[in-house]
């Protein structure tokens, strides 16, 4: 029906009723219908891919927000923790985490015995259900509350990652055949403890607020400190890229003479926007670290590199926003005797503000998700620092960034880290979606001035 072509003896346009479609009309209409179908198909494919992406991310990542905890009563034996009994904090500090291990072993043994669970496991293997972090947690508590020595306190310890994985279905009895971290007997004990309510899986705030942890303790690793790293970098990017970018765009768009120099600058800015981000990374390594001797791995350096990377984006979008302001507004301002600067700042800039804001936020979001340049300035790697206490410290002390933290987790061997990488992606995506939403809202609000 659709692919009949006009024959030579038939006129192309039929000279008859409007109620019947001529062959050319049919052809045109079917071409239009085909094009619409292609468009719908393209959007459909896009939506399906988005759906697959989102379901994969959430399916694999939500586990990271839950963690398995074991609740036990630990007797803080004075004989182990403070032999002199003087509660001298220096003496108590002398006891290392190794000194706390026996307390946990006996606590687990008591707990299992109290619940009447039959097991052939030694106390060492019972304590093996707990995270290696447990001793550190216990010691930190005692150092903070030395007066509690001698009492029996209820603690909520992280379970080790195999136990966590067992409860989340990641670890099964088949998969641990060659795993020396856990044995089937231990899993039997886990089943019994879950039934008794000692082991439970709950929401884990530490994943969002905590620091990274070493290879042996994936259950303790969190995004929090790298989130702060990203925050400090964004602070640097916002403080530098926005004023520099907007000032450069206003000058180029409104004041600069149009000659070959500005043409060259314009072409270069357009090209810089397309430069791979790793190039900015190596530039940052060479200039900021090797030449200027700024500290390695510092969010300040990361922020400077990302500023360089974001500037072209901000300049291009700001110039587009300025260009979109009708020239009649500039004429009107100049016509009543405003100076060039007054016409720009009183009339052009307020009208361009929504576009500038959107461009800036999108540039920031792009910088927030950037990993490659951070690889080169040392912001990737095991950085389990504590949260910085001041802005200066936050800018200068070594830190990671959210995407770098995700990359770091994804390349570690333990599958528990893999889950955390997906969880990290969820956190990052929430930030990006929030920023883009803010951009849309700000745009709407500023445009609805009238």
């Amino acid at each position: 029906m659709t692919d009949f072509s006009p024959t030579p003896d038939q006129p192309a346009v039929a000279q008859n009723s409007l109620l019947t479609q001529s062959k050319r009309t049919i052809k045109r209409n079917s071409a239009e219908a085909r094009f619409k179908a292609y468009g719908i198909a393209a959007i459909g494919i896009g939506l399906v891919m988005l759906l697959v992406l989102v379901t994969t991310i959430f399916g694999r990542g939500t586990g990271a927000f839950q963690q398995t905890f074991i609740t036990v009563n630990v007797e803080l034996l004075e004989s182990k923790l403070d032999k002199n009994g003087e509660r001298n904090i220096e003496d108590i500090k002398r006891v290392t985490t190794f000194g706390y291990a026996p307390l946990i072993k006996s606590a687990m043994q008591t707990a299992v015995a109290d619940l009447g669970i039959e097991t052939s496991l030694k106390s060492k293997h019972m304590a093996g259900l707990l995270s290696k972090n447990a001793v550190a947690q216990l010691r930190a508590y005692v150092l903070a509350n030395p007066e509690k020595i001698g009492e029996t306190i209820e603690f909520r310890f992280l379970a080790q990652s195999r136990v966590d994985g067992y409860l989340k279905g990641r670890v099964s009895r088949d998969s641990i055949e060659n795993d020396k971290n856990i044995s089937p007997e231990q899993l039997d004990l886990v089943d019994a403890l879950v039934a008794a309510g000692v082991i439970e899986k709950t929401f884990n705030l530490d994943f969002i607020t905590g620091a990274d942890a070493s290879d042996q303790r994936p259950e303790a690793a969190g995004m929090g400190v790298s989130m702060l790293g990203s925050f400090f970098m964004m602070l640097v990017v916002l403080a530098l890229a926005l004023p520099i970018g907007v000032a450069a765009s206003i000058y180029l768009e409104e004041f600069a003479p149009k000659n070959w120099i500005t043409d060259v600058i314009e072409v270069n800015i357009a090209n810089l926007a397309a430069v791979p981000s790793i190039v900015y990374g190596i530039l940052g390594l060479a200039v900021f670290i090797n030449y200027m001797h700024l500290p390695m791995s510092a969010p300040l350096v990361g922020g400077l590199v990302l500023t360089l990377m974001t500037l072209p984006t901000i300049i291009i979008s700001t110039r587009a926003a300025l260009k979109a302001v009708p020239p009649s507004i500039r004429d009107a301002a100049l016509g009543v005797g405003a100076s060039k600067m007054q016409s720009v700042f009183h009339h052009v800039l307020p009208l361009a503000a929504p576009g500038i804001l959107t461009g800036t936020i999108i540039g920031l979001a792009q910088a927030l998700g950037e990993t490659a340049p951070l690889l080169l300035i040392g912001m990737v790697g095991f950085i389990a620092s504590n949260a910085p206490s001041t802005i200066g410290e936050g800018l200068l002390s070594p830190n990671s960034a959210m995407p770098a933290q995700i990359y770091e987790w994804a390349k570690r061997a333990d599958p528990a880290f893999y889950e955390r990488a997906w969880g990290g992606i969820i956190v990052l995506l929430i930030f990006l979606v929030t920023m883009n939403t803010v951009a849309v809202i700000l745009r709407r609000r500023f445009e609805r001035r009238w």
Partner: protein, 265 residues
Amino acid sequence: MNTMNMLDKNLDTKTTKIAARDVNVYYGDSHAIKDVNVEIDANTVTAFIGPSGCGKSTFLRCINRMNDTIDVCRVTGDILLDGEDIYDKRVDPVQLRARVGMVFQKPNPFPKSIYDNVAYGPRIHGLSRNKAELDEIVEKSLRRAAIWEEVKDRLHAPGTGLSGGQQQRLCIARAIATEPEVLLMDEPCSALDPIATAQVEELIDELRANYSVVIVTHSMQQAARVSQKTAFFHLGNLVEFGPTGQIFTNPDDPRTESYITGRIG
């Protein structure tokens, strides 16, 4: 300045406000205005007529140096405002534009309130000491632009929400709020309907009492109705300049006659 005024007084009772001497304008390589000499009187409406692209708008924009904003535009010759060359290096175009106001072809109110539109010029030039004085200037300007009665109850409504004719009168109010000496109007009625056009024309006639008005128009009826002097431009040349009545009834140049009777343009 004095010698020039005396010379003019011999010819005419009115004083010359703007005098152009051998003005040439180039846009890059194209020669847009060729050796134009014209004298525009104070308290007179002068109309520039001519076919599209003849350079009348270009010449108008030379009078308040709006062409400075176009990079490729180059102006030679002298334009004297009260005997002072406005293209002198020492002249700040911003100061000049405060004395030579402009109304554009398309109504272009700022996307601000009606009040702020009118108050903007007085504010940046410091023409008022306090709010009461500013209110007075705004009211006076809106009254003179014959739009006060229509907008007095919604001064803080957006200027862009007015109708086309009202917007153009608002732009005129904005232009006269800074008390210019000369008002340049570039086809101010081309976007307006006949009723709004009539209102604007009436207004132009009233403004003549205080200002020199220069108006570019495509409508010969309009030129005949509002102006006392008419200049006919053709292909960048000032073909003929004289009293409006003479230009329309008894032109010297055959090109003027052809244009007015509709044979060219």
